[in-house]
């Protein structure tokens, strides 16, 4: 059990590394027509929500902390002499992870609808929290990719994250071997039911 948990943590760390690459490099390599959409994908947030779906709140929250640190480190936010906002991403991610975890803990089932609900709520909370903090820190936020303002960023972020999450979570389910984990859980539940 202990070993399994450690393996899951290592896998999440590996996913975070790949997500950082996707967040910082992928867009530059894609054609302009795709960039309009891919610029709004928050790969790190999708990994955090997936960590929440593993039903370990402590691990999910710490994943959010590390994702936030990485996000800020690869952003202008951590550069001295310009305008720092280190911690804002971490704050937004931790809050999003908590809400996603609450949804997952209330709804026991793990299906596409539940995943959609968690990704959607986490995306909205993430973007709103960032926006509020940047406004509080007196950042003048620019018009974003494709010419949208804040409302556009919110809607585009939500839609792209939902679409990408469907495909990404299929890959992650295979990587985390979720199918076999589900089978084990179901057989355990059947055994417990038979005992009573």
């Amino acid at each position: 059990m202990e070993k399994e948990s450690r393996v899951t943590t290592i896998k999440i760390a590996a996913c975070l590394l790949v997500a950082i690459f996707a967040q910082t490099t992928l867009n530059r390599l894609l054609p302009d027509s795709l960039e309009r959409w891919t610029g709004h994908i928050d790969w790190l947030l999708l990994i955090i929500v997936y960590a929440c779906l593993q039903r370990d709140p402590a691990r999910a929250l710490f994943t959010a902390v590390f994702a936030g640190l990485a996000f800020d480190a690869f952003s202008r936010a951590a550069t001295p002499s310009v305008a720092q906002a280190v911690g804002v991403s971490g704050f937004a991610y931790v809050l999003s992870a908590y809400v996603a975890d609450r949804i997952v803990s209330v709804i026991v089932a793990d299906n596409l609808l539940v995943r959609f609900a968690t990704v959607a709520s986490a995306s909205v909370i993430n973007i709103l929290t960032r926006y509020i903090f940047y406004k509080l820190l007196k950042f003048e936020l620019p018009v974003l990719v494709g010419g949208q303002g804040f409302a556009g960023a919110l809607i585009f972020g939500l839609v792209t994250n939902l679409i990408v999450s469907v495909l990404l979570y299929l890959v992650l389910d295979r990587f985390f071997d979720k199918g076999s984990a589900l089978r084990v859980r179901r057989s355990e539940a059947r055994r417990i039911k038979a005992r009573f």
Binding site: A58, R76, A77, P80, V88, R130
Partner: protein
């Protein structure tokens, strides 16, 4: 059961207290942003960027190569049909193309020569862009050369098309470049530019992912769409004569306070850039002279008042 196991168990049952602790910690870190010259935040970025740089470099090269092969395949796939179509059009267009190509080449050469007169006056380091800002609300890129290649903070970054931005953080192996389209680019020290034909001075500000804005100190009488904007060298940030971009408007503008500037460099698809190694005193020199002159004038004026 150890203490960490107990804490883990407690966090599993009720994560709210852990959320509270983590949010408070983040608020503390956010408040550190307000402390000027906070070294811990600088080290965080320095270590992370240096550590990740080799992976990003390899990944960017790898994906770039795959992209090249993929694009090449599709170009090859469509080439037969494309060839047939082009053959029929070629006869009609050939004469016109040759004539226009000659004119365009001459124009490009003259333009590039004019821009590069400034750039070639100083040594430069060629670098590859390996990543862009993780946050879509900010406009920075990371390049694969750092302090070891002689890059330092505030050095201008250009492409053959025009100005890209300036170095805001140099680590041993990589550097972070603030693009001219970032809203913070003009903050702190104003980037003063001028139109190429007439000396209308203004301040360049980042506006969006693809545009800048120029706020004129004294509005010009008339401006045309496509007029070139170059650095004036009076801001202490950039040497004079670097092409920033071109004025973007639907028609001629009369006494505009603020105009949109289309950056000359393709900032969305940056690949190779040159970091110009201008000595800081060369850039700061004219500004310091003006400041000294002004101080001297003020000193004389106050002496006269005292007398």
């Amino acid at each position: 059961m150890s203490l960490t196991d107990k804490a883990k168990d407690k966090a599993k049952k009720n994560p709210t207290w852990l959320l509270g602790v983590l949010l408070l910690l983040h608020l503390f870190v956010i408040s550190l942003n307000r402390v000027p010259g906070q070294p811990s935040l600088r080290y965080l970025q320095l270590v992370t960027m240096s550590g990740m740089m080799p992976f990003q470099w390899v990944a960017a090269r790898g994906v770039g190569a795959v992209k090249g092969v993929w694009n090449g395949y599709f170009r090859l796939h469509d080439s037969t049909a494309e060839n047939e179509r082009l053959k029929t059009e070629r006869a009609q267009l050939e004469t016109k193309i040759v004539e226009l190509r000659g004119k365009a080449q001459l124009f490009d050469q003259l333009n590039a020569l004019k821009d590069w007169q400034v750039v070639n006056a100083y040594p430069g380091v060629t670098a590859r862009v390996i990543s862009r800002d993780a946050n879509q609300w900010f406009n920075t890129v990371t390049i694969d050369q750092g302090m070891l290649a002689g890059i330092s903070k505030d050095q201008p970054v250009v492409t053959t098309d025009g100005l890209v931005g300036r170095v805001i953080l140099a680590t041993p192996l990589a550097s972070q470049v603030l693009l001219i389209t970032d809203e913070r680019h003009g903050a702190g020290a104003a980037v003063i530019a001028q139109t190429a034909d007439n000396r209308w001075l203004g301040i360049i500000e980042g506006k969006s992912q693809s545009l800048c804005a120029m706020r004129f100190i004294q509005p010009p009488e008339k401006l045309e769409n496509g007029e070139q904007v170059v650095t004036s060298g009076q801001d202490g940030l950039y040497p004079p004569g670097l092409l920033v971009g071109r004025i973007r408007s639907n028609g001629p503008l009369a006494a505009p306070q603020l105009v949109d500037i289309q950056p000359a460099a393709q900032l969305g698809k940056l690949d190779l850039v040159t970091v110009i190694q201008v000595p800081p005193e060369k850039i700061r020199g004219p500004v310091d002279d003006v400041v000294k002159e002004e101080k001297a004038k003020q000193g004389k004026a106050s002496d006269r008042k005292k007398r």
